[in-house]
Symmetry: C2
């Protein structure tokens, strides 16, 4: 028995601006990621390996804001964050502000497995990447015309934006995966390019253990997407874990309270993917849409974009 | 009514290696910080201003590992992290990996009050500092002979160390403050130079909201010190808050469970300072010592170093 869920970001997704072709492309990207994770879980692989494999596919797919396809920051660079946590031993790895790492989630995995640290930032994280043989990519690799245009639209302003807009169907801000493997272990991974036109080395919730990413076999695995600042202040992922552990909530009760009530109260737009060791899967969001997919304990697959 | 607690780090503090003169200096540093916070609280100032004022004194005091006196990283620089959280509105600000900011906690305050972000890293955080008029300092300002010697001892190795050692009374890794003001509001602040000889842009728990720093009027204010990686994985500060909110624990019960049991089980050496809106103060640590001081609701002051 295993389960797997993935997301490609949440926010304003206006179906009237979505073409059938574009929608098909998104679903194709989700499908590639779901299959990558499933193939590991089917053969008895670990939840950790499965979420990493799924997120690598999402990072490589140019329509999602992570890895190739990451948004441009204020000075026209790509600054990416990623995190990974293993629920069996509560080990974790995270990187923030890396600019030349092809798959930031793989570097987060190396931090978890090959260092004594949990979080590494910027050039230092890239130096670690060199040491462990991470694959580097130049600026050209991360360039996509669509992201470039989004940046041109606002680069001469002080605006920054989550990877979506009320005016059009711009892409969403984060990717992530959570899995339960056949050994009963959970894992979670998240990766993002952050906000278009972001400045000042801004870090959101994605690479922060407890905020955007958390996994614990005893409670749940969570990967968030949304307005990172609010998710950071609300310590969203660990809040759900604590509601289960300390208050006896079900996964669904905990997700509903945090996403549909607590986050809404502080105007924290977004969503998350969550699962527990009993096979439950929740994909809650308080925004118009969230690119998401899952496979349940019976092998049933689900794909969704809109509410 | 107000309360205030501060710490100057936890770890191995061997009284047999401590001279009366050095001990007096530490107590003097703690006293400067306690008085700075008290003077704000006495005149009706906010908990936020009080913890910032206390941490500024600790940063300026060369014996503590934050601001002046911060440890050297692997390439002989000072890389500092700080965070601040206000319990009344759950607003927060944090910086990591800043190298030229005289008082990182003041920059964290600017992030909280003058930006739409929560966390900023590295050069980007310093660029924000320039914009808001933060005071910069050059490498010479942060140099202290003692830290330099600690670094020389291990710089040609792959070792890094928390700011303490079993062999001698080297200084501890973090400073912090928590306060309850006369308006019933809580706040927490933490600042650190991290680990001697650290590499790879390593970030510990100090600047991570929920891990090393957290404040919520409804539960508690927490500032941690210790082995950051374990504190990050255990989401220590928010764990205490959740035990109070979701499980009905008292502040003391929550602190005892997290510091003396959960952290001990994962070999997470360190401690924290904690207080709640009812006037309770807890200063738990599982290491040999923690530089600490507090003033309670009756104005009684406490200073401690050893267990």
């Amino acid at each position: 028995m295993f389960t797997l869920a993935i997301h490609g970001g949440a926010g304003t997704i206006n179906s009237s601006l979505m073409t059938p072709e574009l929608e098909a492309q998104y679903l194709h990207g989700l499908s590639l990621a779901l299959n990558a994770g499933k193939s590991i879980l089917t053969s008895g692989g670990s939840a950790t390996d499965a979420v990493v494999a799924a997120v690598v596919e999402l990072e490589n797919f140019p329509l999602f804001n992570a890895g190739k396809g990451a948004v441009f920051n204020h000075i026209g660079q790509h600054e990416m964050d990623a995190a990974l946590m293993s629920g069996s031993d509560l080990k974790a790895g995270a990187v923030c502000g890396v600019k030349h790492i092809k798959n930031p989630v793989l570097l987060a995995k190396a931090v978890m497995q090959q260092s004594e640290h949990v979080m590494m930032a910027g050039d230092g994280a890239e130096a670690f990447g060199k040491m462990v043989g991470a694959e580097f990519a130049d600026d050209a690799y991360f360039h996509t015309d669509q992201r470039y245009q989004q940046w041109l639209d606002i680069r001469d302003t002080d605006q920054f934006q989550l990877d979506h807009s009320a005016a059009s169907n711009k892409k969403m801000g984060t990717v992530g995966a959570v899995a339960l493997d056949s050994h009963g272990h959970l894992a979670a991974a998240t990766s993002t390019g952050g906000m278009t036109n972001k400045r000042f080395g801004r870090v959101g919730d994605s690479p922060v253990i407890g905020a955007g990413t958390y996994a614990n076999d005893a409670t749940c695995a969570i990967s968030c997407t949304g307005h990172g600042e609010l998710f950071l202040r609300a310590v969203v992922a660990y809040d759900i874990s604590c509601l289960i552990e300390y208050k006896g909530y079900t996964l669904k009760e905990a997700c509903d309270l945090v996403v549909m009530k607590k986050l809404v109260d502080i105007k924290g737009e977004g969503g998350l993917i969550a699962l527990d060791a009993h096979g439950n899967i929740e994909l809650p969001f308080n925004s118009d849409g969230m690119y998401r997919a899952s496979v349940d304990v019976n092998g049933n697959e689900f794909f969704g974009i809109y509410r």
